[in-house]
Symmetry: C2
Subunit: 478 residues, 2 copies
């Protein structure tokens, strides 16, 4: 059993050191590998397969709402990046610059895209002429680069993968509608597929996107009580349209500016899945996003008929599920540890006694519950177990979040909550950035969002005591 223990012992307990636990899991589950480029990571097959599943499902949902995919150049000429004032101020400090092509110095240096608003605006200025050309609802899947000082796998890296949607509409109402539609799509996806409940709300002006009129966000709570911004949707109004001259002739023959939105989700979602669902044995993947849903592990596989039966089961289940069969010469305990580390939702143990009884032992990764299932009905039974597990994981995450959300009516309560009760703090706010700054300085917590579901906890700002304008979720964030 020395071999079995090695894999498990190598992981730090999440209660001892959550950051180290996280690092251990991403490496031991072979999700990623560090590269020789500062701040850039390598997505290994186990990690990239999760992203492929996220892409497939999100892309399907996008297209149902009329989104069309495009691909824009990865470079942005410096002059183009500078066209919208707030935008360039927000991004220029973290841009990677290309200065040479081959042996020649470029006449104008180019940014490696940190985001592509400026490129889409340039395109829309060229191809939008009439109301008949609207709306434009384009999206691209690509990588972007932001020169980060400190990085962590999936959560913050110099290069990361994402999708960025960029739309142009005839009216302000239509743009606002699309902004909210995509935020809702993001939240539904996270809840239904990643089993992560989201707080939907609006960012304060301090926290909004560079150049946006309004930024909406979905915020999730990680196991350690820190918040993770998981997706954002921005309404730009006509600010970019005016900076880039994106005008169309309306039905009334008037020249008008378009109204724009953008929205994105990134590979940090993989980090969210790890930090919401993982445990001290490793990754726990929701069935709907797991690259492998079921791991068949033969017991006493040297005995006659075991491998044969395991193979037959593999063939049968592969028609419906994503299944693996580990018939290597490792010991079963070692295989269990590997399956648990990788977060494969279900394990099927199949040994000589099971075969004699025409049954198998199905073990849930999240609860470790062992379920005896007749081999005759295992095909349908697995779907039930996977569905239940998916649902339980969402409810467990929701219960954890609710148990780690505190209401603070006074500044003392607020500071105590941030210091001693990891999680969200709900508190009233006057709307003044000065209070946000003071709170951040005093506690390191930031405003996560003004939730759509407002509650009136009191009449006054938790910080300054002036009349409150909104209830805000606060927290320490990744």
């Amino acid at each position: 059993m020395a071999q079995d223990k090695k894999l498990v012992e190598a992981i730090t307990s999440m209660e001892d050191d959550f950051a180290q636990w996280y690092t251990d899991v991403v490496r031991k589950a072979e999700l990623c590998e560090y590269s020789s480029i500062k701040g850039c990571m390598i997505f290994l097959p186990n990690g990239y397969a999760i992203w492929e599943n996220i892409q497939k499902e999100l892309d399907r949902r996008f297209k149902e709402t009329g989104v069309e995919n495009v691909y824009m150049p990865m470079f942005i000429p410096e002059g183009l990046l500078e066209k919208e004032k707030d935008h360039v101020e927000g991004f220029a400090p973290e841009v990677a610059w290309v200065t040479h092509g081959g042996k020649d110095q470029l006449t104008e240096r180019m940014a490696v895209r940190p985001t592509s608003e400026t490129l889409f605006c340039d395109l829309y200025a060229n191809i939008v002429h009439s109301y008949r050309d609207l709306p434009k609802v384009y999206n691209q899947w690509c990588s972007v680069v932001r020169w980060e000082k400190t990085t962590r796998p999936f959560l913050r890296t110099t290069e990361f993968l994402w999708q960025e949607g960029h739309t142009a509409h005839a009216t302000a109402e239509e743009a606002e509608e699309r902004t909210i539609q995509m935020l809702n799509l993001y939240a539904d996806f996270c809840e239904e597929v990643l089993a992560i409940p989201m707080i939907k709300g609006r960012k304060t002006d301090k926290e909004k996107f560079a150049g946006a009129e309004a930024t909406y966000t979905i915020e999730a709570l990680m196991h350690d009580g820190k918040a993770l911004q998981s997706g954002t949707s921005h309404n730009f109004g006509d600010g970019f349209a005016k900076a880039f001259g994106i005008q169309y002739t309306d039905k009334d023959n008037q020249l008008k500016y378009v109204h724009q939105t953008s929205w994105g989700m990134t590979t940090r979602l993989i980090g969210a899945v790890i930090m919401v669902h993982g445990d001290d044995s490793g990754l726990v993947l929701p069935p709907k996003i797991a690259p492998t849903q079921v791991a068949i592990i033969p017991i006493a596989q040297h005995k006659e008929g075991v491998l044969e039966k395991a193979n037959a089961l593999y063939e049968k289940l592969s028609k419906t599920y994503k299944v693996s069969l580990d018939d290597s010469d490792k010991k079963p305990g070692w295989k269990f540890s590997e399956q648990e580390m990788r977060g494969i939702p279900l394990r099927i143990e199949l040994g000589p006694k099971d075969i004699e009884a025409n049954q198998a032992v199905v073990v849930r990764r999240d609860t470790r519950e062992k379920i005896l299932v007749s081999l005759d009905e295992i095909d349908t039974k697995l779907q039930e177990i996977l569905d239940t597990m998916q649902k339980d994981m969402l409810e467990r995450a929701r219960a954890h979040r609710d148990a780690h959300t505190t209401e603070a009516l006074t500044y003392e309560e607020f500071k105590d909550a941030v210091a001693n009760k990891p999680g969200f703090v709900k508190a009233m706010w006057c709307g003044d950035v000065a209070c946000e700054n003071k709170i951040k300085e005093d506690t390191t917590a930031t405003s996560r969002c003004m939730p759509f579901e407002q509650e009136k906890l009191s009449d006054v700002c938790v910080c300054c005591g002036k009349p409150a304008k909104a209830m805000v979720y606060w927290g320490k964030a990744y």
Copy 2:
């Protein structure tokens, strides 16, 4: 009818000026748009959707052979790029260099990847230790950058999209097997899905990839008689392994170098589809790659029942096919021109008389053949027509290629063929690079490949008269 004509008249005839015809088609079919970055293009929805279909089908075929997808950083430190001598000499002249991150100058500049051999080697050196870790069969879908002087949409652009597979094997035999396996997979995909027949063969040393022991290629013939290298598969032997120190402990406890391969196909395949199948009315897409397979166009749609029936047909066919319905107020002739320009394989014309006769007119894009189909059996009939069209397009392309392939026994015949008979020239070669250079200088034709299917046309080199070593396909190339 003035409106109908406008769209068609705007295209140059392919016999008059093939290059201008190509440019006209990619713009009028809205496949791409020029960007403000020199040599970079924007993939519009019509163009990107073709790439998505290519990706989906290729990726499926890859995974059936055990390929796993990963994602590597887009940057390569200069020192890493320089590790394999031939490789850096091949690529350094066309690399884009990042020199600054934010406000800081980098201590070592980084190349935007022109290809990722060096990154994969760096990874394999870190993660391959034992024979148990082999083979590694990784692939990534990404964009790469090569600083090109002259560019053409899809065919040669500074940034382009591709997949690059990189594998590591225990033995030389296994590496060679994988190299050929992927070349065959590429050729099968192009023939079965893109309806483009391929010549499979090996590149001469002059034309092989920088750092490879052997480069295999698939070569296609475009409508204008020029060749297009459409995919390559390289066997690196242990050259990169020695440069990067990729060693494993074998079963016999000996430390050995791995043997490596790489293979790639790019968005230039979209250019191949345009130039093999297109005609003077625009694009002609093979049914298996077409984002829209069937366009329903109502005739006299103001008449009672027409739009209703067209909508019902749309609903019915959408279950099986990728269908569009154009119920805009444009005239039918204009809609026909648009459908033809975009290369949608089938058009269904449905008017009051058709409805009365319980039939529709199905028009093939490639032959313009009109087929009367009963509405009762249209669902199954369409599949037959699409299958026939797919098959006919491949056979037509093959016949065109064969009709534009000349055998040359003397150098006079060779020069005459290159000058006056657009297409491939088959001729014997002594194996000396001097003859390749002379032929290129005299005729601008290059060696495309030494085909696997060798023929002995004569005993002597077509250029120098010395003993011949191989039959070679020559041609002017994109």
